[in-house]
Protein backbone atom coordinates (compact mmCIF):
# COMPACT_ATOMS: atom_id res chain seq x y z
CA UNK A 1 0.00 0.00 0.00
CA UNK A 2 1.75 3.19 -1.10
CA UNK A 3 1.02 6.60 0.34
CA UNK A 4 1.24 8.52 -2.92
CA UNK A 5 -2.48 8.22 -3.73
CA UNK A 6 -3.73 9.24 -0.29
CA UNK A 7 -4.70 12.74 0.75
CA UNK A 8 -4.75 11.64 4.38
CA UNK A 9 -1.69 13.02 6.17
CA UNK A 10 0.48 10.49 7.92
CA UNK A 11 2.45 10.74 11.10
CA UNK A 12 3.61 9.06 14.26
CA UNK A 13 1.28 8.50 17.14
CA UNK A 14 1.41 11.32 19.69
CA UNK A 15 -0.55 12.92 22.46
CA UNK A 16 -0.92 16.57 23.50
CA UNK A 17 1.00 17.69 26.59
CA UNK A 18 2.26 14.19 27.53
CA UNK A 19 -1.31 13.28 28.47
CA UNK A 20 -1.41 10.15 30.56
CA UNK A 21 2.17 10.41 31.74
CA UNK A 22 1.18 12.33 34.85
CA UNK A 23 -2.59 12.20 34.90
CA UNK A 24 -5.09 11.54 32.17
CA UNK A 25 -7.03 14.65 31.15
CA UNK A 26 -10.05 14.03 28.89
CA UNK A 27 -9.34 16.10 25.80
CA UNK A 28 -12.91 16.86 24.81
CA UNK A 29 -13.55 20.40 26.01
CA UNK A 30 -17.11 20.97 24.83
CA UNK A 31 -19.67 19.44 22.53
CA UNK A 32 -22.51 21.30 20.84
CA UNK A 33 -25.56 19.35 19.68
CA UNK A 34 -27.66 21.19 17.16
CA UNK A 35 -31.02 19.72 16.23
CA UNK A 36 -34.52 20.55 15.07
CA UNK A 37 -37.43 20.06 17.46
CA UNK A 38 -39.80 18.99 14.73
CA UNK A 39 -38.13 17.48 11.72
CA UNK A 40 -37.80 13.72 11.40
CA UNK A 41 -34.10 13.80 10.66
CA UNK A 42 -33.42 14.94 14.22
CA UNK A 43 -35.45 12.19 15.83
CA UNK A 44 -32.43 10.15 16.88
CA UNK A 45 -30.75 13.18 18.42
CA UNK A 46 -33.93 14.17 20.24
CA UNK A 47 -34.35 10.62 21.59
CA UNK A 48 -30.72 10.62 22.70
CA UNK A 49 -31.15 13.93 24.51
CA UNK A 50 -34.28 12.72 26.28
CA UNK A 51 -32.81 9.44 27.43
CA UNK A 52 -29.01 9.10 27.37
CA UNK A 53 -27.68 12.64 27.56
CA UNK A 54 -27.87 13.06 31.35
CA UNK A 55 -25.91 9.88 31.91
CA UNK A 56 -23.31 11.02 29.39
CA UNK A 57 -22.96 14.38 31.10
CA UNK A 58 -22.59 12.71 34.50
CA UNK A 59 -19.88 10.32 33.31
CA UNK A 60 -18.00 13.11 31.52
CA UNK A 61 -18.03 16.04 33.95
CA UNK A 62 -15.03 17.55 32.23
CA UNK A 63 -16.99 18.19 29.03
CA UNK A 64 -19.49 21.00 28.65
CA UNK A 65 -22.56 20.02 26.64
CA UNK A 66 -24.43 22.72 24.74
CA UNK A 67 -27.79 22.12 23.11
CA UNK A 68 -28.92 24.29 20.23
CA UNK A 69 -32.44 23.69 19.00
CA UNK A 70 -32.64 25.30 15.58
CA UNK A 71 -35.69 24.98 13.37
CA UNK A 72 -35.38 23.72 9.80
CA UNK A 73 -31.73 22.74 10.30
CA UNK A 74 -30.39 19.22 10.04
CA UNK A 75 -28.82 17.93 13.23
CA UNK A 76 -25.08 18.03 13.80
CA UNK A 77 -22.54 17.85 16.57
CA UNK A 78 -19.42 19.98 16.85
CA UNK A 79 -16.73 18.81 19.25
CA UNK A 80 -14.07 21.22 20.48
CA UNK A 81 -10.83 19.93 21.92
CA UNK A 82 -8.31 21.34 24.35
CA UNK A 83 -5.71 21.94 21.64
CA UNK A 84 -8.12 24.18 19.71
CA UNK A 85 -9.22 21.74 17.02
CA UNK A 86 -12.87 21.24 16.10
CA UNK A 87 -14.64 18.24 14.68
CA UNK A 88 -17.93 18.54 12.81
CA UNK A 89 -20.25 15.61 12.28
CA UNK A 90 -23.66 15.64 10.66
CA UNK A 91 -26.15 13.54 12.60
CA UNK A 92 -28.92 13.63 10.03
CA UNK A 93 -31.19 10.59 10.30
CA UNK A 94 -29.01 8.96 12.92
CA UNK A 95 -30.60 6.57 15.34
CA UNK A 96 -30.29 7.16 19.08
CA UNK A 97 -27.61 4.46 19.35
CA UNK A 98 -25.60 5.94 16.51
CA UNK A 99 -25.60 9.34 18.18
CA UNK A 100 -24.42 7.73 21.42
CA UNK A 101 -21.66 5.83 19.64
CA UNK A 102 -20.37 8.81 17.71
CA UNK A 103 -20.45 10.91 20.84
CA UNK A 104 -18.35 8.39 22.73
CA UNK A 105 -16.01 8.31 19.73
CA UNK A 106 -15.58 12.07 20.07
CA UNK A 107 -14.77 11.61 23.75
CA UNK A 108 -11.91 9.28 23.05
CA UNK A 109 -10.25 11.54 20.48
CA UNK A 110 -7.60 14.07 21.29
CA UNK A 111 -7.85 17.03 18.94
CA UNK A 112 -5.03 15.78 16.76
CA UNK A 113 -6.45 15.40 13.23
CA UNK A 114 -7.16 11.97 11.83
CA UNK A 115 -4.04 10.64 10.19
CA UNK A 116 -2.55 7.41 9.03
CA UNK A 117 -0.27 6.09 11.76
CA UNK A 118 3.06 5.07 10.37
CA UNK A 119 3.80 3.06 13.52
CA UNK A 120 1.71 2.22 16.54
CA UNK A 121 4.47 3.07 18.97
CA UNK A 122 6.69 6.07 19.52
CA UNK A 123 9.60 6.74 21.75
CA UNK A 124 11.75 9.76 22.41
CA UNK A 125 14.61 7.55 23.55
CA UNK A 126 15.24 5.13 20.69
CA UNK A 127 18.55 3.90 21.97
CA UNK A 128 19.88 3.13 25.43
CA UNK A 129 23.18 1.45 24.60
CA UNK A 130 24.07 3.96 21.91
CA UNK A 131 23.77 3.85 18.13
CA UNK A 132 26.15 1.47 16.38
CA UNK A 133 29.08 3.07 14.61
CA UNK A 134 31.90 1.29 12.79
CA UNK A 135 34.10 1.55 15.88
CA UNK A 136 31.68 -0.29 18.15
CA UNK A 137 33.01 -3.68 19.24
CA UNK A 138 36.27 -3.14 17.35
CA UNK A 139 39.36 -4.58 18.99
CA UNK A 140 41.59 -1.76 20.28
CA UNK A 141 44.52 -3.55 18.61
CA UNK A 142 43.52 -2.05 15.26
CA UNK A 143 44.94 1.30 16.40
CA UNK A 144 48.55 0.22 16.24
CA UNK A 145 48.17 -2.70 13.85
CA UNK A 146 50.03 -2.81 10.56
CA UNK A 147 47.76 -4.05 7.82
CA UNK A 148 47.63 -6.63 6.33
CA UNK A 149 47.50 -8.21 9.79
CA UNK A 150 47.56 -11.92 10.46
CA UNK A 151 44.51 -12.02 12.72
CA UNK A 152 42.64 -8.79 12.00
CA UNK A 153 42.76 -9.00 8.22
CA UNK A 154 40.91 -12.32 8.21
CA UNK A 155 37.14 -12.41 7.76
CA UNK A 156 35.30 -12.71 11.09
CA UNK A 157 33.47 -15.93 10.30
CA UNK A 158 36.44 -17.56 8.64
CA UNK A 159 37.01 -20.86 10.36
CA UNK A 160 40.26 -22.81 10.16
CA UNK A 161 41.11 -23.78 6.56
CA UNK A 162 41.30 -27.44 5.52
CA UNK A 163 45.11 -27.30 5.62
CA UNK A 164 45.03 -25.90 9.16
CA UNK A 165 42.60 -28.58 10.27
CA UNK A 166 44.87 -31.30 8.92
CA UNK A 167 47.84 -29.74 10.68
CA UNK A 168 45.80 -29.69 13.92
CA UNK A 169 44.92 -33.36 13.57
CA UNK A 170 48.56 -34.26 12.85
CA UNK A 171 49.73 -32.31 15.90
CA UNK A 172 47.22 -34.18 18.05
CA UNK A 173 48.56 -37.50 16.90
CA UNK A 174 52.12 -36.29 17.56
CA UNK A 175 51.50 -35.18 21.15
CA UNK A 176 50.14 -38.54 22.31
CA UNK A 177 52.37 -40.95 24.25
CA UNK A 178 53.89 -43.55 21.87
CA UNK A 179 53.01 -46.25 24.40
CA UNK A 180 49.29 -45.45 24.10
CA UNK A 181 49.23 -45.14 20.33
CA UNK A 182 45.67 -45.91 19.12
CA UNK A 183 45.45 -48.76 16.63
CA UNK A 184 45.15 -47.26 13.09
Amino acid sequence: MSNSHMFLPSGFIRTPLQNGLGRYIPQLQRITLKFCKNHGGSRGVRDFIESDLMEFAKTNPGTVVYLKPRRHRSPCMVAEYLNGEREYLSCHEFSRDEVHKWLSYMCTRSGIPVMRFRKYQHTDYPTVQGVWNPFTHQAPEINIAEFPHEVLSRPLDHGPTATEQLIEIFKKTQIEDPANKPPN
Binding site: Q18, L21, R23, R30, P61, V64, N83, T127, G130, P134
Partner: protein, 355 residues
Protein backbone atom coordinates in the same frame (compact mmCIF):
# COMPACT_ATOMS: atom_id res chain seq x y z
CA UNK B 1 -9.54 14.93 -16.38
CA UNK B 2 -8.07 18.44 -16.14
CA UNK B 3 -10.73 19.36 -13.56
CA UNK B 4 -9.81 16.30 -11.50
CA UNK B 5 -6.11 17.23 -11.58
CA UNK B 6 -6.93 20.81 -10.50
CA UNK B 7 -9.08 19.55 -7.61
CA UNK B 8 -6.26 17.26 -6.48
CA UNK B 9 -3.81 20.16 -6.54
CA UNK B 10 -6.16 22.34 -4.50
CA UNK B 11 -6.67 19.59 -1.94
CA UNK B 12 -2.93 19.14 -1.50
CA UNK B 13 -2.34 22.86 -1.20
CA UNK B 14 -4.96 23.42 1.49
CA UNK B 15 -3.82 20.41 3.43
CA UNK B 16 -0.45 22.02 4.14
CA UNK B 17 -1.84 25.35 5.37
CA UNK B 18 -1.20 26.11 9.04
CA UNK B 19 -4.25 26.61 11.21
CA UNK B 20 -3.88 28.76 14.36
CA UNK B 21 -5.45 27.80 17.67
CA UNK B 22 -8.24 30.36 17.37
CA UNK B 23 -9.37 30.30 13.79
CA UNK B 24 -12.53 31.71 12.34
CA UNK B 25 -15.81 29.92 12.88
CA UNK B 26 -15.72 27.55 9.88
CA UNK B 27 -15.01 24.02 11.07
CA UNK B 28 -11.70 22.57 9.99
CA UNK B 29 -12.03 18.81 10.43
CA UNK B 30 -15.06 17.11 8.92
CA UNK B 31 -15.87 13.44 9.25
CA UNK B 32 -16.63 13.03 5.57
CA UNK B 33 -19.59 11.23 4.07
CA UNK B 34 -20.71 10.56 0.56
CA UNK B 35 -22.32 13.61 -0.96
CA UNK B 36 -23.82 14.43 -4.31
CA UNK B 37 -23.25 18.06 -5.20
CA UNK B 38 -24.13 19.80 -8.44
CA UNK B 39 -21.39 20.63 -10.93
CA UNK B 40 -21.33 24.33 -10.07
CA UNK B 41 -20.91 23.93 -6.29
CA UNK B 42 -17.18 23.18 -6.19
CA UNK B 43 -16.11 26.02 -8.53
CA UNK B 44 -18.28 28.49 -6.61
CA UNK B 45 -16.76 27.51 -3.27
CA UNK B 46 -13.32 27.64 -4.75
CA UNK B 47 -13.87 31.19 -5.99
CA UNK B 48 -15.31 32.31 -2.64
CA UNK B 49 -12.33 30.83 -0.84
CA UNK B 50 -9.96 32.61 -3.18
CA UNK B 51 -11.62 35.94 -2.48
CA UNK B 52 -11.71 35.30 1.25
CA UNK B 53 -7.99 34.57 1.30
CA UNK B 54 -7.27 37.85 -0.47
CA UNK B 55 -9.43 39.82 1.93
CA UNK B 56 -7.93 38.13 4.97
CA UNK B 57 -4.46 39.00 3.74
CA UNK B 58 -5.51 42.62 3.31
CA UNK B 59 -6.88 42.70 6.86
CA UNK B 60 -3.77 41.11 8.27
CA UNK B 61 -5.06 37.65 9.08
CA UNK B 62 -8.47 35.95 9.41
CA UNK B 63 -10.97 37.33 11.89
CA UNK B 64 -10.85 35.61 15.27
CA UNK B 65 -13.54 35.67 17.92
CA UNK B 66 -13.33 34.84 21.58
CA UNK B 67 -15.33 31.76 22.51
CA UNK B 68 -17.42 33.76 24.93
CA UNK B 69 -18.91 35.77 22.07
CA UNK B 70 -20.69 32.65 20.84
CA UNK B 71 -24.30 32.07 21.75
CA UNK B 72 -23.51 28.69 23.29
CA UNK B 73 -21.41 29.80 26.22
CA UNK B 74 -21.96 29.27 29.92
CA UNK B 75 -19.09 30.49 32.05
CA UNK B 76 -20.26 28.69 35.19
CA UNK B 77 -20.51 25.39 33.31
CA UNK B 78 -17.08 25.94 31.78
CA UNK B 79 -15.51 26.54 35.18
CA UNK B 80 -17.21 23.44 36.58
CA UNK B 81 -15.91 21.39 33.66
CA UNK B 82 -12.42 22.84 34.08
CA UNK B 83 -12.05 21.65 37.66
CA UNK B 84 -13.52 18.24 36.82
CA UNK B 85 -11.32 17.79 33.79
CA UNK B 86 -8.26 18.12 36.00
CA UNK B 87 -9.78 15.99 38.71
CA UNK B 88 -9.35 18.71 41.33
CA UNK B 89 -11.68 20.57 43.67
CA UNK B 90 -11.39 24.34 43.72
CA UNK B 91 -12.99 26.96 45.92
CA UNK B 92 -15.27 28.83 43.56
CA UNK B 93 -14.05 32.24 44.67
CA UNK B 94 -10.37 31.30 44.48
CA UNK B 95 -10.77 29.85 41.00
CA UNK B 96 -12.63 32.85 39.66
CA UNK B 97 -10.09 35.20 41.21
CA UNK B 98 -7.26 33.18 39.64
CA UNK B 99 -8.79 33.61 36.20
CA UNK B 100 -9.50 37.35 36.48
CA UNK B 101 -6.84 39.78 35.38
CA UNK B 102 -6.32 43.33 36.46
CA UNK B 103 -6.60 44.54 32.86
CA UNK B 104 -10.10 43.07 32.66
CA UNK B 105 -11.25 44.79 35.83
CA UNK B 106 -9.84 48.09 34.63
CA UNK B 107 -11.52 47.70 31.26
CA UNK B 108 -14.88 46.86 32.81
CA UNK B 109 -14.79 49.75 35.28
CA UNK B 110 -13.82 52.13 32.47
CA UNK B 111 -16.64 50.83 30.30
CA UNK B 112 -19.21 51.20 33.05
CA UNK B 113 -18.06 54.65 34.02
CA UNK B 114 -18.25 55.67 30.34
CA UNK B 115 -21.88 54.63 30.31
CA UNK B 116 -22.33 56.47 33.56
CA UNK B 117 -23.09 53.53 35.85
CA UNK B 118 -21.55 53.55 39.31
CA UNK B 119 -19.14 50.63 39.34
CA UNK B 120 -18.53 48.77 42.57
CA UNK B 121 -17.49 45.51 41.02
CA UNK B 122 -16.63 42.76 43.49
CA UNK B 123 -13.91 41.32 41.29
CA UNK B 124 -10.67 40.15 42.81
CA UNK B 125 -7.66 40.01 40.52
CA UNK B 126 -5.00 37.34 40.40
CA UNK B 127 -1.91 39.40 41.17
CA UNK B 128 -1.36 38.04 44.67
CA UNK B 129 -2.34 34.52 43.67
CA UNK B 130 0.02 34.44 40.72
CA UNK B 131 2.89 35.66 42.89
CA UNK B 132 2.27 32.91 45.43
CA UNK B 133 1.72 30.39 42.67
CA UNK B 134 5.05 31.23 41.09
CA UNK B 135 6.84 30.52 44.35
CA UNK B 136 4.99 27.24 44.85
CA UNK B 137 5.74 26.21 41.28
CA UNK B 138 9.46 26.85 41.76
CA UNK B 139 9.47 25.01 45.05
CA UNK B 140 7.69 21.92 43.75
CA UNK B 141 9.79 21.70 40.59
CA UNK B 142 13.01 21.98 42.57
CA UNK B 143 11.82 19.33 45.00
CA UNK B 144 11.14 16.86 42.22
CA UNK B 145 14.40 17.55 40.39
CA UNK B 146 16.51 17.20 43.50
CA UNK B 147 14.78 13.98 44.50
CA UNK B 148 15.16 12.37 41.08
CA UNK B 149 18.56 13.78 40.08
CA UNK B 150 20.36 13.10 43.33
CA UNK B 151 23.87 13.11 41.88
CA UNK B 152 23.53 16.27 39.89
CA UNK B 153 25.06 19.63 40.86
CA UNK B 154 22.86 22.56 41.68
CA UNK B 155 23.71 24.38 38.44
CA UNK B 156 22.07 21.69 36.33
CA UNK B 157 19.07 21.59 38.67
CA UNK B 158 18.71 25.32 38.18
CA UNK B 159 18.93 24.96 34.38
CA UNK B 160 16.21 22.29 34.37
CA UNK B 161 14.08 24.35 36.73
CA UNK B 162 14.47 27.42 34.50
CA UNK B 163 13.39 25.38 31.51
CA UNK B 164 10.32 23.97 33.25
CA UNK B 165 9.20 27.31 34.65
CA UNK B 166 10.00 29.28 31.51
CA UNK B 167 7.24 31.24 29.79
CA UNK B 168 6.98 29.08 26.66
CA UNK B 169 6.64 25.86 28.65
CA UNK B 170 4.04 27.23 31.03
CA UNK B 171 2.12 28.83 28.20
CA UNK B 172 1.87 25.50 26.38
CA UNK B 173 0.61 23.82 29.53
CA UNK B 174 -1.90 26.60 30.18
CA UNK B 175 -3.26 26.44 26.64
CA UNK B 176 -3.70 22.72 26.68
CA UNK B 177 -5.73 22.59 29.87
CA UNK B 178 -8.22 25.04 28.40
CA UNK B 179 -7.33 28.29 30.16
CA UNK B 180 -7.52 30.25 26.91
CA UNK B 181 -11.32 30.44 26.90
CA UNK B 182 -11.72 30.89 30.64
CA UNK B 183 -9.41 33.78 31.35
CA UNK B 184 -10.96 37.20 31.83
CA UNK B 185 -8.42 39.55 30.34
CA UNK B 186 -8.41 42.66 28.19
CA UNK B 187 -6.02 41.35 25.53
CA UNK B 188 -7.18 39.03 22.80
CA UNK B 189 -5.46 36.94 21.44
CA UNK B 190 -4.04 36.54 24.94
CA UNK B 191 -0.39 37.21 25.52
CA UNK B 192 2.09 34.70 26.89
CA UNK B 193 2.40 36.57 30.19
CA UNK B 194 -1.36 36.40 30.72
CA UNK B 195 -1.39 32.63 30.26
CA UNK B 196 1.58 32.18 32.59
CA UNK B 197 0.05 34.43 35.25
CA UNK B 198 -3.25 32.55 35.12
CA UNK B 199 -1.52 29.20 35.40
CA UNK B 200 0.51 30.26 38.42
CA UNK B 201 -2.63 31.68 40.02
CA UNK B 202 -4.41 28.36 39.39
CA UNK B 203 -1.64 26.54 41.26
CA UNK B 204 -2.01 28.91 44.20
CA UNK B 205 -5.80 28.60 44.11
CA UNK B 206 -5.46 24.83 44.20
CA UNK B 207 -3.10 25.01 47.17
CA UNK B 208 -5.64 27.22 48.94
CA UNK B 209 -8.59 25.00 48.10
CA UNK B 210 -7.27 21.44 48.39
CA UNK B 211 -3.98 21.79 50.23
CA UNK B 212 -0.35 21.87 49.26
CA UNK B 213 -0.16 18.12 48.68
CA UNK B 214 -2.69 18.27 45.85
CA UNK B 215 -0.97 21.31 44.37
CA UNK B 216 2.36 19.47 44.43
CA UNK B 217 0.89 16.49 42.60
CA UNK B 218 -0.77 18.86 40.13
CA UNK B 219 2.55 20.52 39.31
CA UNK B 220 4.26 17.15 39.03
CA UNK B 221 1.60 15.85 36.64
CA UNK B 222 1.41 18.86 34.39
CA UNK B 223 4.61 20.87 34.52
CA UNK B 224 7.32 18.37 35.37
CA UNK B 225 6.15 15.92 32.70
CA UNK B 226 7.31 18.48 30.13
CA UNK B 227 10.81 17.22 30.97
CA UNK B 228 9.97 13.98 29.20
CA UNK B 229 11.60 13.80 25.80
CA UNK B 230 14.11 16.52 26.68
CA UNK B 231 17.79 15.73 26.82
CA UNK B 232 18.77 17.26 30.15
CA UNK B 233 22.33 17.71 28.95
CA UNK B 234 21.09 20.07 26.25
CA UNK B 235 19.65 22.37 28.89
CA UNK B 236 22.93 23.02 30.63
CA UNK B 237 26.24 23.94 29.09
CA UNK B 238 29.26 23.87 31.39
CA UNK B 239 31.69 26.45 30.08
CA UNK B 240 34.87 24.53 30.74
CA UNK B 241 34.14 20.81 31.07
CA UNK B 242 37.83 19.83 31.12
CA UNK B 243 38.55 22.30 33.93
CA UNK B 244 35.51 21.14 35.91
CA UNK B 245 36.51 17.52 35.50
CA UNK B 246 40.09 18.19 36.58
CA UNK B 247 38.84 20.02 39.67
CA UNK B 248 36.49 17.17 40.60
CA UNK B 249 39.17 14.50 40.21
CA UNK B 250 41.61 16.60 42.22
CA UNK B 251 39.08 17.02 45.03
CA UNK B 252 38.47 13.26 45.07
CA UNK B 253 42.20 12.63 45.36
CA UNK B 254 42.41 10.83 42.02
CA UNK B 255 45.07 11.34 39.37
CA UNK B 256 44.87 14.08 36.75
CA UNK B 257 42.81 13.25 33.67
CA UNK B 258 44.83 11.93 30.76
CA UNK B 259 43.51 12.10 27.23
CA UNK B 260 44.48 9.44 24.73
CA UNK B 261 43.54 9.05 21.10
CA UNK B 262 41.56 5.82 20.78
CA UNK B 263 40.18 5.81 17.28
CA UNK B 264 40.66 7.93 14.24
CA UNK B 265 39.38 7.84 10.69
CA UNK B 266 39.53 10.06 7.66
CA UNK B 267 41.98 12.62 9.10
CA UNK B 268 42.71 13.98 5.63
CA UNK B 269 39.07 14.48 4.70
CA UNK B 270 36.24 16.79 5.81
CA UNK B 271 34.51 13.88 7.52
CA UNK B 272 37.39 13.13 9.84
CA UNK B 273 36.48 11.66 13.22
CA UNK B 274 38.61 11.33 16.33
CA UNK B 275 37.75 9.32 19.42
CA UNK B 276 39.53 10.48 22.53
CA UNK B 277 39.50 8.42 25.70
CA UNK B 278 39.75 9.88 29.17
CA UNK B 279 41.88 8.03 31.70
CA UNK B 280 42.65 8.72 35.31
CA UNK B 281 45.60 6.73 36.63
CA UNK B 282 45.24 4.31 33.71
CA UNK B 283 41.55 3.70 34.52
CA UNK B 284 39.15 4.31 31.69
CA UNK B 285 36.48 6.87 32.54
CA UNK B 286 34.84 7.89 29.27
CA UNK B 287 35.37 8.49 25.60
CA UNK B 288 34.21 11.25 23.29
CA UNK B 289 34.10 11.74 19.55
CA UNK B 290 34.56 14.86 17.48
CA UNK B 291 35.63 16.26 14.16
CA UNK B 292 38.90 17.52 15.61
CA UNK B 293 41.10 16.55 18.53
CA UNK B 294 40.04 19.53 20.65
CA UNK B 295 36.35 18.85 20.13
CA UNK B 296 36.81 15.18 20.89
CA UNK B 297 38.70 16.06 24.07
CA UNK B 298 35.89 18.31 25.22
CA UNK B 299 33.28 15.69 24.40
CA UNK B 300 35.18 13.11 26.41
CA UNK B 301 35.21 15.49 29.38
CA UNK B 302 31.47 16.07 28.96
CA UNK B 303 30.81 12.34 28.85
CA UNK B 304 32.82 11.92 32.05
CA UNK B 305 30.76 14.60 33.78
CA UNK B 306 27.59 12.90 32.54
CA UNK B 307 28.84 9.65 34.01
CA UNK B 308 29.53 11.24 37.38
CA UNK B 309 26.17 13.01 37.50
CA UNK B 310 24.29 9.93 36.23
CA UNK B 311 22.73 11.83 33.32
CA UNK B 312 24.02 9.67 30.47
CA UNK B 313 21.80 8.62 27.59
CA UNK B 314 21.37 5.29 29.33
CA UNK B 315 20.24 6.80 32.65
CA UNK B 316 17.16 5.57 34.48
CA UNK B 317 13.83 6.67 33.09
CA UNK B 318 12.30 9.63 34.92
CA UNK B 319 9.46 8.70 37.25
CA UNK B 320 6.10 10.39 36.75
CA UNK B 321 2.58 10.12 38.08
CA UNK B 322 1.94 7.10 40.25
CA UNK B 323 5.64 6.19 40.33
CA UNK B 324 6.20 9.16 42.61
CA UNK B 325 3.97 7.85 45.37
CA UNK B 326 6.84 6.44 47.42
CA UNK B 327 9.12 9.44 47.15
CA UNK B 328 6.64 12.24 47.84
CA UNK B 329 7.96 12.75 51.37
CA UNK B 330 11.51 12.84 50.04
CA UNK B 331 10.48 15.41 47.43
CA UNK B 332 8.86 17.58 50.10
CA UNK B 333 11.99 17.32 52.20
CA UNK B 334 14.35 18.32 49.39
CA UNK B 335 12.36 21.36 48.33
CA UNK B 336 14.41 23.56 50.62
CA UNK B 337 17.68 21.69 50.36
CA UNK B 338 19.76 22.59 47.32
CA UNK B 339 22.11 20.05 45.80
CA UNK B 340 25.87 20.39 45.97
CA UNK B 341 27.20 23.13 43.68
CA UNK B 342 29.68 22.25 40.97
CA UNK B 343 32.57 23.89 42.81
CA UNK B 344 32.25 21.42 45.70
CA UNK B 345 31.03 18.32 43.94
CA UNK B 346 32.64 14.97 44.82
CA UNK B 347 31.24 11.47 44.49
CA UNK B 348 31.41 10.59 48.20
CA UNK B 349 29.11 13.44 49.17
CA UNK B 350 26.35 12.35 46.82
CA UNK B 351 26.70 8.57 47.34
CA UNK B 352 24.77 8.75 50.58
CA UNK B 353 21.81 10.32 48.82
CA UNK B 354 21.33 7.49 46.31
CA UNK B 355 17.95 5.79 46.73
Amino acid sequence: MAALWKTCQQCLRYRFSNVSIYTSITAVNVISKRNFKAHWVAPTLRELKRRKVIEDDLNGGPKIFHRSTFLEWNYDAEIFAFSNRLGEKFNDLSLRAALTHKSYIERETARLSDIGVESNLQFQDNEALSQKGGELLSKFTNGYLRAVFTQVPEELIRAMHDFLTSNPTLETVARHIGLGDLMLCADFPCKTETYVKSFKAIVAALAESSGEERARIFVQDLVVTQLYGQDVNELWNPVDPVGNLTAILKREGKAEPEFRLIRQAGSNSILGVYYVGLYSDKNFISEGAGESLEVAKEMAAREALKKFFRTEDSMRALPFGRQLKNIQSKIAQLENQPNIPLSEWISEKVMSAVH
